[in-house]
């Protein structure tokens, strides 16, 4: 990747969109200190990514739920709390709160395989919310789900965003999803990975109804995203 | 396993370290006997080089030094005529023939059973539990009885030993091939159905090629086990020779170095056999465009 210069303000919902190989997941992983950059600097809350990771400043949601099959849902959500040393009572309270945020209360004693894909991913989000990190890093969390479930989870995520006032960095393949969810859209393209456009959304901040996707404002932003992708030669196929 | 290139250096270093540990252990373990020898001969103040040469040169040491073992193998292979009863190669040949015969029979039997289990539901439900249970029966325990019993009714020589090897090696092949022949996923099977392929065609064009990795993995396990079976069978049929017999006579006569030498020979044989199957695997799988596991 080259020439990526970006600021993310607190309380923003930033989407990274681009085709495979443009580096959006890599960029997210560098932010999470899961990979090292070869040059340049990143600071998170004024700290290096490593310091941010060690002080548990963010929650990460992967493409797959990555729940531990031998733990119940409540034990899965409690996993980071155990590692970070929270006491039993506080764990129980936080788990209940997180599951309520993602509308999974009542499923505490179930095992991951007993839940549908969408519910598993919601549990994974609950886990990322359990320990009060201000920043949420999400790597195509809804990519494996069908469109109807995806729509539902998109609107749930926005409600969550409005309620908890976190900062969210979100990687996606889907143009409607990026436009629907974000306050700022970063359009990227491959070979080399770079930023083609940064779009500040004019849609209202916070909760938005699903129908907003048929408004001219929405379509205009989507059009701009598509133009950005085209300019980065994202629509051409390569081996 | 990762590519050999990536592993060679660590493996070599670990082997070197093990060799060093062996020499140290040999020194420590042979020391008491050496001390007793010195006392008997009244020797004192032995220089270190002499001491090491002595402690690593005992004729019947508690733990032979590696070079003693290599020397023994050398003497008994290169240093002997091939037909001599003292030659390790002669004995290895006997064991090898029983192993190969058992292995081939076991693989064929295993393949046959796997195909039967695959295509006949009754056989599947009846046989599989018993096949798995059969492996908890220590067949090697029956080996003496089988050999002696067959001898008593006139079946001697290679066949009883091969029978043990067959029994031991068919199990990995059955289990592996049942898994392998069932490995094509539903989509691929459905595709064949849309071509109205017969059961035989589905077998030859889809199931059999898909099971190749499993076949070779099973055969590697099977051939190693067949060798063990042949060795153990030889323990009871001492007349016919073989590495197992040489091991037994060595142990009765307290010839420690010979025992280790025979073990080295058997280990080399096992390694050659497994590598041979591995080479066949690379050849077949490369022709099919697959990398070996």
């Amino acid at each position: 990747m080259s020439d990526v210069n970006l600021d993310i303000e607190q309380g923003e919902f930033v989407s990274f969109i681009g085709p495979s190989g443009c580096g959006k997941t890599t960029f997210l992983r560098v932010m999470a200190d899961l990979e090292q950059p070869t040059s340049g600097t990143i600071t998170i809350n004024g700290m290096t990514p490593e310091a941010a990771r060690k002080s548990r400043a963010y929650g990460y949601v992967f493409q797959a739920p990555a729940l531990f099959p031998w733990r119940t849902i409540e034990d899965n959500v409690a996993l980071p709390l155990e590692i970070m040393g929270y006491g039993r009572d506080e764990r129980r309270e936080r788990v209940a709160r997180s599951l309520d945020l993602v509308s999974l209360s009542g499923f505490e004693r179930k095992f991951p395989w007993q839940l549908s894909g969408g519910m598993q991913q919601r549990a994974s989000i609950a886990r990322a919310l359990a320990f009060d990190a201000d920043l949420l890093l999400m790597d195509e969390p809804f990519g494996a789900l069908d469109e109807i479930v995806r729509d539902h989870l998109n609107s749930e995520l926005l409600k969550l965003f409005a309620r908890t006032k976190k900062t969210i960095a979100f990687v996606t393949h889907s143009i409607p999803e990026a436009v629907y969810l974000s306050t700022k859209i970063v359009v990227m393209s491959p070979r080399p990975g770079r930023v083609t456009d940064i779009i500040h959304s004019t849609l209202p901040h916070g909760e938005r109804p699903l129908d907003i996707r048929e408004t001219p404002e929405f379509l205009a932003i989507a059009h701009r995203v598509r133009e950005g992708l085209r300019a980065g030669h994202s629509y051409e196929e390569h081996v | 396993m990762t590519r050999a290139g990536g592993n060679t250096i660590p493996v070599l270093i670990v082997l070197a370290a093990l060799l060093v540990i062996w020499y140290i252990a040999a020194t420590l373990m042979n020391a008491p006997w050496q001390a007793a020898l010195y006392e008997r001969a009244g020797t004192t103040d032995v220089p270190l080089a002499q001491y090491l040469a002595d402690v690593w040169g005992q004729p019947k040491p508690l733990l032979p030094a590696p070079h003693q073992i290599v020397q023994e193998v050398w003497d008994n292979t290169v240093g002997q005529a091939l037909s001599s009863k003292r030659s390790f190669l002669y004995h290895a040949g006997i064991t090898l023939s029983a192993t190969l015969m058992g292995f081939v029979l076991g693989t064929v039997l295993g393949l046959g059973l796997a195909v039967l289990i695959l295509h006949n539901e009754a056989m599947n439900r009846s046989l599989m539990p018993w096949i798995i249970a059969s492996q908890t029966v220590p067949i090697l325990a029956i080996a003496p009885m089988l050999v002696i019993g067959l001898n008593a009714i006139g079946v001697t020589g290679l066949f009883p030993k091969a029978l043990i090897s067959t029994y031991l090696s068919f199990f990995p092949v059955v289990v592996g091939m049942v898994k392998g022949l069932r490995s094509p996923d539903q989509m691929q099977l459905d595709l064949m159905r849309t071509y109205n392929a017969s059961r035989l065609e589905i077998f030859t064009k889809l199931r059999w090629p898909a099971s190749m990795p499993y076949l070779f993995a099973s055969m590697k396990v099977g051939i190693a086990i067949a060798l063990i079976g042949a060795l153990v069978a030889e323990l009871t049929n001492t007349a016919a020779g073989g590495l197992g017999v040489r091991l037994l006579t060595g142990s009765y006569n307290g010839q420690t170095i010979t025992i280790w030498g025979v073990l080295l020979m058997a280990a080399t044989l096992a390694a050659i056999l497994v590598l041979a199957v591995g080479a066949a695997e690379k050849l077949v799988l490369r022709n099919m465009g697959q990398a070996p596991a």
Binding site: I83 | R125, L127
Partner: protein
């Protein structure tokens, strides 16, 4: 019913009837055979009336009893009855298996009936064939003879079992598996050690380690510690290789997840990598249980005080007391299967979450 099943049914029914007819003259002394023959004749009615598989099962069972009761007199009717019983059993197994596969019947435990029926049929055929044909005991004794020997030699068998299983096998198995596990954890911390040790471990697993037995006898004496030492050598490597494989089985995503929590080595080991490794570890435990028993018995071929299963087998085989050998083998088989079954039960409890256990296929 398929064509093949029809043929089986006809032959079975006719054979039973024929067998009864041949002794019809002395019906009083051959009551079992006659009743069985009548039942067999009635079974031919299946071509008119639908008959459930369990009827075939009952016919086979009754045939078995008939055979056992009629072993006094060997003649063509016995063999006909044997043929009929075998075919009825075959029909039963075949039809039940088909029903289970099509999902037409599904009672819990019905799945066990098929292999059990198969096993019982084999046992029956074995008994009748050996007794009826007069097979020399040296080659193959009948199950009833083996059973009689087990009962009569009880104390000897128990002493042998104590020596071999309770002392050598248990000690060697526990020590070998524990050390394999411990070394795997140690090796886990060093990428270098893992790359160096693992190929060697794989290689050594394939070697005839049983050959170490005479050396162990030399080092540890004739008694059970030397056998336990052999078992330690045999079980160490599969445990090491499998545990290392298991520790690396946790997915990349899950390990990244732990990294985002700034989880330490110990926390990651106990919360993620060890739980994920259990399926592999149990695989090794199962393999090792069979290897341990075999190892102990074969190691005893190389020298042992005058007690022990391997000792008994090799000496009695030499004296052609084959029934004692079979009795020892039967005890070993039961011990081996029971241990294996126990491990499987524990495995199901610990790895309840694994797809292979969840899907109901072991």
């Amino acid at each position: 019913m398929s064509n093949w099943q029809r043929i089986l049914a006809i032959v079975a029914g006719v054979a039973a009837t024929l067998g009864a007819l041949l002794v019809a003259g002395a019906a009083a002394t051959h009551l079992w055979l006659v009743v069985f023959g009548v039942a067999g004749a009635l079974s031919l009615l299946r071509f008119a009336v639908n008959v459930r598989p369990r009827v075939d099962g009952l016919l086979a069972g009754f045939g078995g009893l008939t055979l056992l009761a009629s072993l006094g007199e060997v003649g063509p009717s016995l063999w006909l009855a044997l043929l009929a019983t075998w075919l009825f059993a075959w029909l039963f197994i075949d039809r039940l298996a088909q029903q289970l596969a099509r999902g037409e019947t599904a009672a819990p435990g019905l799945g066990l009936v098929v292999p059990l029926a198969f096993g019982l049929t084999l046992l029956l055929l074995w008994e009748v064939a050996v007794r009826g044909l007069g097979v020399p005991q040296v080659l193959l004794p009948a199950p009833s003879q083996i059973y009689a020997r087990i009962i009569s030699s009880g104390p000897t068998l128990w002493a042998d079992f104590q020596q071999t299983f309770l002392k050598a096998v248990l000690a060697g198995y526990l020590l070998g598996c524990a050390s394999g596990f411990a070394v795997a954890i140690l090796v886990d911390r060093s990428q270098f050690l893992r790359r160096g040790l693992l190929p060697i471990g794989n290689f050594v697993s394939a070697l005839p380690i049983i050959g170490i037995a005479p050396i162990m006898v030399m080092w540890f004496g004739f008694d059970w510690p030397s056998k336990a030492a052999v078992i330690v050598c045999i079980t160490f490597f599969p445990m090491l290789v499998n545990t290392v494989a298991g520790l690396n089985a946790s997915g990349r995503m899950e390990r990244d997840l732990m990294r985002t929590y700034a989880s330490g080595y110990g926390q990651t080991l106990f919360k993620l990598r060890l739980p994920a490794a259990w399926p592999f570890i149990f695989n090794a435990l199962k393999i090792n249980s069979t290897l341990a028993l075999i190892g102990a018995i074969v190691a005893e071929f190389f020298g042992t005080p005058i007690v022990g299963m391997g000792f008994r087998i090799s000496t009695e085989a030499g004296r052609l007391n084959v029934d004692v050998v079979w009795a020892e083998v039967a005890v070993a088989a039961v011990a081996g299967s029971a241990t294996y079954g126990l491990i499987v039960l524990v495995e199901r409890a610990v790895t309840f979450w694994h797809p292979s256990v969840r899907g109901g296929r072991a």
